[in-house]
């Protein structure tokens, strides 16, 4: 298949008409350059959105109980709603399929001390699923497990900052930390990409907290993630249904906005989705427009090239060139120029993004860049584009009648 002579012919032709080839390549290179930069900027904007939402699971739903504001079913307004362990079970029984992870949570503030060091931290009593909901990573030791829940063990998993604050010289694992007067054994250290505040936290098993803080089965809030197979609309209706079921369970008026509050990330996701979608569409339209302009440009130049080479093509045909060989020459030349020029444009575009990227963060553009798949996609598109641009002129060239081309004028 590889025909060295054919390539020799094509390079000779490109080389002989350097200015012409450069000019036609420039159109395409510029189109791709713009395309890459636009795409990179769009990606940067998306990254900014994503970061605004943190690294928590973005399919989170948090349910807070509060005080009723309306009388309902003979019950007075101002009644405090209190969740218990059975309410988590209720959610699982009702919506088992739709729940991915779930944890009950008790929040406290504690003073933690180890040897001479002492500080105040947020204490979160949770279940093992919480690790996936918060996207925590255990850097040392382990997380809370089912055994801790069953046996109400006094163990603590501390955030990186807590570790750095209190355990200056030694490893925290296996040491006893004092939390507001009660010693807990540190079994793990975790990190959270979301930042320092999320690492200034201590986790303990929820059953332990319930035992220590009142010997009851109260929980402060429910934190769950919905099944990621659901789309945003399904997630939203799941959220509303969950709210309604819980309101019924606690005899809360449907219009009561404060007794049971459900914070559904799907709401924000939907807005971000719409925004990034329209952004992508705009970028694609502009990008494709530029690309088409580039293709039309190169097609134009190829038509001109064929016109200019009419006589040469006529000579070749008189000497025995088949129509196919004429098409190959023109087509491959077009594809070659498009691909090389397009690639140069792409490289320059990526380079520009690489260099200018960091200084764009103030404009809400973070880490602008193009993905590998886009690079492959663009290369493929370029080859196709070159073929389209070259096809008509090549066809025209192959139909040149030698007798017309060779007429003495």
């Amino acid at each position: 298949m590889f025909d060295l002579d054919l390539w020799r012919e094509i390079f000779q032709s490109i080389n002989k008409n350097r200015t012409r080839s450069l000019l036609s390549g420039f159109t395409v290179a510029f189109a791709i350059l713009l395309f890459a930069i636009l795409f990179g900027i769009a990606n940067g904007l998306k990254n900014t959105f994503k970061e605004a939402f943190g690294t928590d699971a973005n399919n989170s739903i948090i349910v807070y109980p509060g005080r009723t504001t309306k009388a309902n079913n003979g019950l007075q307004a101002g009644r405090q709603i209190q969740f218990k362990n059975e309410d988590e079970q209720f959610v699982l029984d009702e919506f088992g399929e739709k729940v991915q992870y779930i944890t009950s949570k008790v929040n406290r503030s504690v003073t933690a001390s180890f040897k001479g060091e002492k500080n105040n931290y947020e204490l979160r009593a949770v279940q093992p699923d919480y690790m996936f909901i918060e996207n925590n990573k255990v850097s040392d030791g382990r997380y809370i497990n089912q055994n801790d829940l069953d046996n109400r063990t006094k163990v603590a998993i501390i955030g990186r900052i807590v570790n750095d604050d209190l355990f200056l010289k030694e490893s925290a694992i296996g040491k006893y930390i004092n939390l507001s007067g009660i010693p807990y054994k540190v079994v793990g250290v975790f990190t959270d990409d979301e930042g320092d505040n999320e690492e200034r936290v201590i986790y303990i098993p929820i059953t332990t907290a319930q035992f220590v803080y009142g010997n009851n089965d109260y929980i402060d809030l429910l934190h769950l993630t919905y099944n990621p197979d659901m789309n945003v609309d399904e997630a939203l209706s799941f959220g509303s249904l969950l709210t309604k079921k819980l309101k019924d369970r606690f005899s809360v008026a449907n219009s009561d906005q404060r007794a049971i509050r459900v914070q559904n990330m799907a709401q924000g996701m939907k807005q971000v989705d719409i925004m990034t979608f329209s952004l992508t569409v705009i970028i694609l339209v502009i990008g494709l427009g530029t690309l088409i302009a580039g293709i039309v440009g190169i097609s134009n130049i190829m038509i001109f090239i064929v016109k200019e080479r009419t006589k040469e093509i006529g000579i070749r045909k008189a000497l025995g060139a088949s129509p196919k060989s004429i098409v190959s020459i023109i087509l491959i030349e077009s594809v070659l120029i498009t691909t090389i020029a397009g690639y140069v444009g792409l490289l320059v575009g990526v380079g520009v993004l690489e260099i200018a990227g960091p200084s764009l963060e103030t404009y809400f553009i973070k880490d602008p860049g193009v993905s590998n798949s886009l690079v492959f996609g663009a290369t493929f598109t370029l080859i196709i584009a070159g073929a389209i641009a070259g096809y008509l002129p090549a066809k025209k060239a192959s139909q040149i009648k030698p007798i017309v081309a060779l007429r003495n004028d």
Partner: protein
Amino acid sequence: MLKINQLHKSYPIGDSSLHVLKGIDLTVDEGEMVAIMGSSGSGKSTLLNIIGMLDEADEGEYILDGLPIKNLTEKKAAVYRNKFLGFIFQSFNLINYKTALENVALPLYYQGMKRKERLEKALFHLEKVGLANWSHHLPKELSGGQKQRVAIARALAANPKLLLADEPTGALDTKTSYDIMAFIQQLNDEGKTILMVTHEEDIANMCKRIVRLRDGVIMEDKKVEQVRAEQYV
């Protein structure tokens, strides 16, 4: 070698059509050197184009070396042209960005010959026309006579059965013309069949047979005493 029977060709001009060839009968044997003469518009170039498969007849029979040339696909015509015919043009028609050697090698490229082999063969033919030293020059660096020699070498490269020359000396001065003619005669002496269109009497007389066309029909077809070109050189 070549047999033509009742060949007709007309070109559309606006609504009407121009009947250019009105029933041509011509037979050329191997080793002949024929001049086709006629004033402009007599149909001599059209006849040559049809013989050269660059154009197709409307009616009539054309047999080249036993092969009927009729309703050829473009691809087939390309193969036949490459295999059977060598063209020499008035305006040389060399490819201007290729060196003399590459120009001569071009028909061999279309035969699918390997690069090394075809360059060797091309050089051999350039040597034959006395331009081995100019093999790496571009056409623009050559004189008219030299360009025509390169063109002849190119026409010979594929070792065709029939050489077709369309006013081969039309763009050359008298001395160079005779020079080229001497060379073409020499090719004919070696056995090549040559068909040439010209409107110059002296050039025609250097052939062995003259066919005169007028208004699309053959007026006269006679053998002549060949005038050797060497004596003028």
